[in-house]
Symmetry: C2
Subunit: 383 residues, 2 copies
């Protein structure tokens, strides 16, 4: 076991109708005004926005709101939101949506307590020293953002998709109500499953030391995601499957899988962020393309763990059969596993490799991942 | 998945020599004076006390200390400690020891901010409304007290072994350094393993609803405990095994195993607390006697889960073989599995059943556990 610090003060309120208590949860932390951040107008049409607004009013919490957050959320909208918070002196940020909405909300929470431009935090020019309290009501489970202090935002001018992180950005309270996720489309369910796989497998395959307990925890998360995704593809209203899927997403990136681990890196995310920045491919779709290709590239680095993966997840004894098993499963749930299936041509390989190498430099992974190696990995997905 | 709230703000500092930073960790929370609570004088002889004192002095944190906490810790010592805290206006409590020491420290933390007698919290006469900050350096892993808001203390006058609990009693920081646990005796390692099994199996076998993810998490904890205990019995200095064992103990009672679960009760602890209160049997030893007997009593209630247990933990297809597997394993690591092996005679059955029925009433389990049923279970362990 390698040294670690585990600290995660985010409070999860999981269950039916829990969003109707959001006013109380926010009041628990002494916050009296919030900016509601959301994505499409769906939450206005289906009544969620009104239920949230009613709960806030009940507790005397005033609010403003801003919608329009998109998948691969953009910093321009974050800047707009920061202006609203500053102008109205709002005390907290309430995200109602999926990972993109919550990631944007975290950036707003940091940016609204800072005099410079919020992008400074993403490029390492400034450190988060203060932040408004973040709250969330999740309508999509995938990124784990509800129980971690990270966010990822895209700058379309500079073509950078970069992360922000600070202990101050842990959500105070996140509501997970599986019923609110029942209307997620099959495509986005698939992308979410892939995102969770990627959070786990980046670590699982790259760690130079992985405790037996932590390895088995990751295998449990992956088995849960496969089992529940298969159920949900047939019956989207299965509450228990939806709930277990959501909790697996949370556990995949709330610190538990990092316990005692050494030497892990975030390889497929480093590469996929380039696809999202340049071509606005949905995050999970891009990862589905990158992950099997990357696994083929690194399989000799850690053959024992690849064998365990093949055996535990797909009942296969052979490394390549494990990779094929995952590729086939991705395809079976409707996730693209080639450039063509993701709507990209071979011409995209070079720009993606170039942009990803920029990420590699920022994440101190450029020695391991020169541009040529990234291009070679991407070529394995061009078919 | 049933509704749940997950909230656990305790910070874990895991790793080599981390106790030497305890002054800094305490300072992070603005605490400038502490009472050090500990057990035997071993920590003075082996230098741990001095290293802790040096770290506190380095950070300008003043301290008093009180030793003498025993297994099945007693409320009389807690009361003494409270007097020291009140007299010296100390701001925090630092436990250096195992679960008994930390449990005592939590009771002190609550009692020192209360005008009445600390036992009021245990018998439900008062609620914890304020508490001093609790910090810990663990020298034994078993109870999970380092990452939960509970403690158990014995009142030798009233012969009650009762729990205290409040979100205010989460440790702020707990240090887990496996090296500090290397000198734990084989007996106490065995008792600790049994305690962790009991924390898990009470829930695993009684839950009327147990999500697949949570079931697999529990199986992972149990497998980790068996694997690492077997290693440590041969090589007590195996750092990685000691570390994984400690983390399994933490995970067994920090809220993760309760996620989405319904209908679980704490049966073997309810019974064992009576043994500890009356005969001062070490907690884990008492549990080793109670657990297999209790499993025989309830096995028909949940046969599928008993079959999974037998198969996953012991490679057996049959329920009784699973129970025998566990009994044999307890015996193989030196834990007593009968009254005789625990130094008790059949005469003890009636008083234990009587006292345990008192616990059952306090825990609202008396309808399920009339005294006769408890006696019947205990008789299965009299051989």
């Amino acid at each position: 076991m390698r040294d670690f610090t585990f600290y995660n003060p985010a409070r999860i309120e999981f269950g039916k109708n829990k969003e109707e208590n959001i006013g109380q949860y926010i009041k628990d932390y002494g916050v009296k005004s919030v900016l509601i951040v959301y994505g499409s107008d769906r939450i206005k049409k289906d009544g969620l926005f009104d239920r949230v607004a009613a709960s806030l009013k009940d507790q005397g919490i005033s609010f403003e709101s801003i919608g329009g957050v998109i998948s691969n959320p953009v910093v321009s909208l974050v800047r707009e939101a920061i202006e609203i918070v500053k102008k109205n002196n709002l005390q907290g940020i309430l995200a109602v949506g999926g990972g993109s909405v919550l990631d944007s909300a975290k950036a707003v929470a940091a940016g609204c307590r800072y005099d410079g431009d919020v992008w400074d935090f993403f490029v390492g020019k400034a450190e988060v020293k203060e932040a408004a309290g973040v709250f969330s009501i999740m309508t999509l489970a995938a990124t784990g953002s509800e129980m971690n202090p990270y966010g990822v935002v895209t700058n379309t001018e500079t073509k950078q998709k970069y992360p922000i992180g600070s202990p101050l950005l842990f959500p105070k309270v996140s509501v997970i109500n599986p019923d609110l996720m029942a209307s997620v489309t099959p495509s986005y369910l698939a992308y979410s499953a892939v995102d969770i796989f990627s959070h786990c497998l980046d670590l699982y395959f790259t760690a130079s030391y992985l405790p037996g307990y932590t390895a088995a925890l990751i295998e449990n998360i992956l088995e849960t995601v496969m089992r529940t995704t298969n159920i949900l593809m047939k019956n989207p209203d299965d509450y228990d499957a939806r709930g277990e899927f959501a909790w697996a997403a949370t556990m995949a990136l709330n610190g538990n899988t990092f316990v005692g681990v050494e030497g892990n890196t975030f390889d497929t995310h480093m590469i996929e962020h380039a696809m999202g920045a340049l071509y606005n491919v949905p995050h999970g779709a891009g990862l589905a393309v990158v992950l099997p290709a990357w696994m083929k590239d690194i399989k000799d680095q850690n053959p024992d763990r690849f064998k365990t993966f093949a055996s535990k997840l797909f009942g296969e004894s052979d490394i390549d059969a494990g990779i094929s098993g995952l590729t086939d499963w991705f395809r079976s749930i409707g996730a693209p596993v080639t450039f063509a299936e993701a709507g990209l041509s071979e011409d995209a390989v070079d720009p993606i490799a170039e942009n990803a190498f920029g990420n590699a430099k920022l994440w101190a992974m450029d020695e391991m991942y020169p541009k040529e190696r990234i291009a070679k990995i991407l070529m394995k997905a061009v078919k």
